[in-house]
């Protein structure tokens, strides 16, 4: 077949058949949705068949960056963006499955503002996915019509607060909730989760909460909670990947008040595969885990990531319990912190039976910020001696170790012949 330049010339003389307008509507919709929104609307000038194809687009992505707004919040320019969206939505005809708004510089979210009208329109159009990415001027209140979006499956909201309307029947189909810069009040997030029976993924980033958050969900598979919270209680039996990270700013949410019910959480887990407790999460929770208190083995748990102070007795004990209930553990990553305020218990790790088979399946161990303290060295010794199939142990010391300690480290006995100790 001879294609290429001559083809075009030939076509010009032959009766040209429109090759694209007869594609199924679903495909034309897909093509338009891949274009930047302004160009998609521009297709209305192409030909008669394309006149209103744009008006049935199902996925709308409005990005401020596409509108050449200069830096600064020039009212005139941001109005252009707003005007475009307003006119677009008023001329749009048909279901809207996805609505994404990327507007970091624009004031759209004031009470009674545009976002309220748009949300109302979306709730009437069977929207399945809503993403609103903005910068935080001050937390805005989600319009109540958001809660009438019955078909909603995915929600990404930034910088918001919300109040569940009294007659809220829940999002029956939602599978992912992603809130960033979210301010929780009175366990509204817990109630929301409780009313979403099919929720599988919950992500709370940069959370701020003074309230008592309690999240119960049987279908949840992926959980990420990160931010500053006062009380957190999680009962999510079937979650397979969990990450809890507690940031503490002593001026804001004092450490002493923080409370994470870790033992309840771990006690409720059935199918967990990887777990991460970062920041101060382990520290603020550790007192809850006592030896022998965890009800069952977590056979599927293969990865544990902790931010831990190995010298702290409470934390060390808790970590030990955790390792004991994870017989199939394959990877450990520890961010070593020295909190320094409790009595050093350097003998804890040495006192543990080194032949107990604690790390029978451990394949990789990563220790960050290794300082070579007694506790940490003790732990490392335990690790190396009790991990028969260990392949790699990466120790990142950030230049804290002196030569002697390094030598001692490298001399430690290893149970696994293939173990490779990498010092960074």
């Amino acid at each position: 077949m001879d294609r290429g330049g001559s083809q075009k010339k030939r076509n010009k003389s032959v009766a040209n058949v429109d090759i694209i307008s007869n594609l199924p509507d679903v495909i034309k919709d897909k093509i338009l949705c891949c274009l930047p929104i302004k160009e998609a609307v521009g297709t209305c000038l192409l030909s008669r068949k394309w006149r209103y194809t744009w008006a049935s687009m199902t996925e709308l992505i409005f990005r401020e960056d596409d509108f050449d707004l200069s830096n600064g919040i020039d009212e005139g320019e941001s109005n252009r963006f707003v005007y475009f969206i307003v006119t677009f939505l008023s001329l749009h005809n048909g279901p809207i499955l996805k609505f994404e708004l990327n507007a970091r510089r624009v004031h759209l979210l004031s009470p009674g503002g545009h976002i309220h009208r748009w949300m109302l329109m979306l709730s009437r159009n069977g929207v399945k996915e809503i993403q609103i990415r903005t910068r935080i001027w001050r937390n805005y209140k989600i319009p109540s019509s958001f809660f009438s979006c019955e078909e909603l499956e995915y929600a990404y909201l930034q910088g918001c607060i919300f109040q569940l309307p009294p007659l809220f029947t829940g999002f029956k189909r939602i599978h992912t909730l992603h809130f960033i810069d979210f301010c929780a009040t009175e366990n509204n997030i817990g109630e929301l989760v409780a009313s979403c029976p099919n929720l599988e993924k919950l992500i709370l980033s940069r959370l701020l909460s003074f309230a008592d958050i309690s999240i119960h969900s049987t279908k949840l598979k992926i959980l990420r909670v990160d931010g500053m919270f006062k009380h957190l209680s999680l009962v999510t039996p079937h979650v397979s990947s969990a990450m809890v990270s507690l940031q503490v700013n002593t001026g804001y949410v004092p450490r002493a008040g923080c409370n994470f019910n870790l033992s309840q959480f771990i006690g409720s887990l059935l199918d967990i595969e990887n777990i991460s407790l970062l920041g101060h999460a382990f520290e603020c929770a550790a007192h809850g885990i006592l030896p022998g208190k965890l009800p069952r083995l977590l056979n599927r748990l293969t990865e544990i990531t902790l931010a831990i102070d190995l010298g702290n007795l409470k934390e060390a004990n808790a970590a030990h319990c955790l390792f004991q209930v994870a017989p199939n553990l394959r990877r450990i990553e520890l961010e070593l912190i020295s909190r320094g305020y409790s009595a050093p218990t350097s003998n804890f790790w040495d006192s543990i039976d080194h032949q107990a088979g604690l790390f029978n399946n451990l394949d990789t161990a990563v220790l960050n910020n290794f300082a070579g303290s007694c506790a940490e060295s003790g732990f490392l010794k335990l690790l190396l001696e009790d991990a028969p199939v260990l392949r790699v142990a990466r120790i990142e010391d950030r230049n804290k170790l002196d030569k002697e300690s390094l030598k001692r480290l490298l001399k430690m006995r290893r149970a696994s012949k293939d173990a490779e100790v990498i010092l960074l």
């Binding site: 058949v17 429109d18 679903v26 897909k30 297709t43």
Partner: protein
């Protein structure tokens, strides 16, 4: 024989082949695992048991022509191998869609009828990339689209959505052309119906100037229309009433600002102009470019008007609206 030996020496003859028949009657055979990658074919094999022999070939939908079929099978053949890395798949995909546009459209259509979603997504994205960044003329050229929208339709309110200054210029030119055509039509009527025009009162004219007679919706094009209509009214011989004349004169002086690019042509019209949410600054730029052309047209039109109408303009650019009133 042991299992491993069997596995090793599986000869070509033992591989199962599936028979596929295109709408035009041509029959092909393809390896089973390749064909099974395609949901529609897979269903046919499992549910209806077709495809196992030449006589019972699976009938493919109409939109699958042989060229597209071979491309689709290449795609399936590559992707059904489980061991490939994401990078390999991605680079294969990128090369795969580098075909000419016509074949790409056919391929999209064929993939859709075979319900091969990953390929549909891939080809749709490729088509979108082709469309992106091109002008309507270029797009029409590539896809052989007929340019069958009338100028009228290109002007409809839809245009406000489109921020593209080229399109707005085009719209403006069309609007101008249309107004001129209407203008000429009106003038022809005027010449026929001179008497009737005489009866229009000054009050009407004043009303119009003051914005009551004008339509709302300050679009750039329409504001020009107002001005043109003013010109029409200017043909009416005014009553010999000094005050209104002065008023008119005064009002007419204001539009002097027109040419400096100020969009609010008449002070009374400025509330309307606020509705024009098109970027006022861009309006001005375009108008500057059009004024000379417009002026030429008006010159021609004006030259046709005679008798009782004395519409003079001085040589200075843009003082179109100052007129002296002469009693004929």
């Amino acid at each position: 024989m042991s299992e491993s030996e069997l596995a090793v020496i599986k000869p070509e003859a033992l591989k199962t082949y599936i028979w596929l028949q295109c709408f035009d009657g041509s029959i092909q055979q393809v390896e089973e695992e390749v064909a099974m990658f395609c949901p529609m074919i897979c269903r046919e094999i499992v549910k209806n048991g077709t495809g196992s022999s030449k006589n019972h070939a699976i009938a493919l939908p109409e939109r699958v022509n042989p060229a597209s079929l071979s491309l689709i099978l290449d795609y399936c053949r590559f992707h059904q191998v489980p061991g490939r890395s994401n990078k390999e798949r991605k680079s294969f995909d990128e090369k795969f869609v580098r075909i000419d546009t016509e074949r790409l459209c056919e391929l999209t259509s064929a993939a859709d009828s075979l319900q091969l979603k990953p390929l549909v997504d891939l080809t749709s994205r490729a088509l979108a990339r082709i469309i992106e960044g091109k002008t309507p003329e270029e797009i029409r050229d590539i896809f052989h689209l007929p340019d069958d929208l009338t100028e009228e339709e290109k002007l409809e309110p839809l245009k406000n959505i489109n921020d593209d200054p080229r399109i707005r210029l085009l719209n403006r030119l069309y609007a101008k052309k249309r107004k001129e055509l209407q203008e000429r039509q009106k003038l022809k009527d005027v010449q026929v119906q001179d008497e009737q025009k005489d009866e229009r009162s000054l009050d009407e004219l004043l009303c119009f100037i003051n914005g009551d007679g004008g339509s709302g919706g300050g679009k750039g094009a329409k504001s020009k229309k107002k001005n043109k209509r003013r010109k029409d009214h200017a043909k009416i011989p005014p009553k010999a009433d000094s005050e209104p004349v002065n008023k008119e004169g005064a009002i007419c002086v204001v539009p002097r600002k027109v040419d400096s690019g100020n969009v609010s042509r008449l002070p009374c019209q400025s509330p309307d102009m606020q509705d024009d949410v098109e970027d006022p600054f861009e309006d001005a730029d375009l108008d500057d470019g059009l004024d000379p052309a417009m002026k030429e047209e008006l010159d021609r039109v004006q030259s046709q008007v005679s008798v009782k109408l004395a519409v003079s303009k001085d040589g200075s650019r843009g003082d179109l609206w100052t007129y002296s009133l002469e009693q004929s």
